[in-house]
Amino acid sequence: MSDSLKYFRENRLPHIWCPGCGHGTVTGALVRAIAKLKLDKNKIVVVSGIGCSSRAPGYLDFDTLHTTHGRALAFATGIKLSRPELKVIVMTGDGDCTAIGGNHFIHAARRNIDITTILMNNNIYGMTSGQYSPMTPKGMLGTTAPYGNTERSFDLAKLSIAAGATYVARATAYHAVLLEELIEKALLNPGFSVVEALSQCPTYYGRKNKLGTPVDMMTWFKDHAVNIKAAAVMSPEKLEGKFLIGEMHNSPEPEFTAEYSALAEGVRRKFDSFQGGLRECAQNSD
């Protein structure tokens, strides 16, 4: 920790998250991954939206941006396109990313822009006192679902793979060592990378659903998570009620900012060497 402590704004700590909240563990894993890669802190921009998870950049000593609800990826796209040499990291929550920012999320994934998204999934809107989110599992309770949530939840890994993200992984606050490795790989992936970090919310999700202490919630992660490599040789009955962790998808594809600047360079060259005539676009000119 001491070598990664320099990436924190120490005068802002201790943070405001509840005792036992997993968001601190996820933030710690990100910082350790950055420290391991020895990235320059002046070349990193951390962007967040609104919510418990989005408090994280306030404690990190990078260039940080705390934006409007769900629009972290929209702001991050702007930053990345104007300064492609920067490493852009988005820290977002389940409500922020999949509900109000769902459209920004799928289109950022579709473009394959080089942004690392860390989604802290605590299955609920914690900051605003426990409304159910698109990632609250069916049947679980929330302030706005007092008799149980009837909606089905997103499988974020499948959603992001379908939308076109080139690196997709999932881990939990319990599997913090794995989480650190996956974040490290996501940071190295040139393209849109998503790391879903399941995190416990003992205050709202835990109390509403009587899940016990933060330790009990982490033990639940331990008992119900199956690594995708182990799941490949397991029978479907054994996988009943479990969820997968590990690297879900990794297939590099052309990255958006590189493609865009190549296109812009090509167009500029064509116009700079314009000698008169039809400019090869006669069908479009009026």
Partner: protein
């Protein structure tokens, strides 16, 4: 015994610790315990230095150092005077 047993020291930033019990519960050797809502090393001699407490701590409050290994001198955050605003240093 071919090599000498390693020993570790536990640095706890009490101001940051919220006593959530995560490090205590998941320590494989039951080294840690809570006292007045803050963690402390009850059996430091049992520590194997796996650093799982350090990695899982949501509050960055505990740190493991191997004894006898020269570590770069780092400022302990719990000793910093937080009443001085950070802007004052950039005068």
């Amino acid at each position: 015994m071919s090599e000498q047993k390693k020993s570790f020291e536990h640095i706890v930033r009490e101001r940051w610790c919220k006593g959530c019990n995560i490090c205590v519960a998941f320590c494989p050797k039951q080294v840690l315990a809570l006292r007045n809502g803050k963690v402390y090393a009850a059996h430091p001699e049992l520590c194997i230095g796996c650093r799982l407490c350090e990695i899982r701590c949501p509050d960055f409050a505990i740190e493991i150092h191997e004894k006898g290994v020269q570590k770069p001198e780092s400022q302990d955050a719990s000793d910093v005077d937080h009443t001085i605003p950070p802007e004052a240093k950039h005068a």
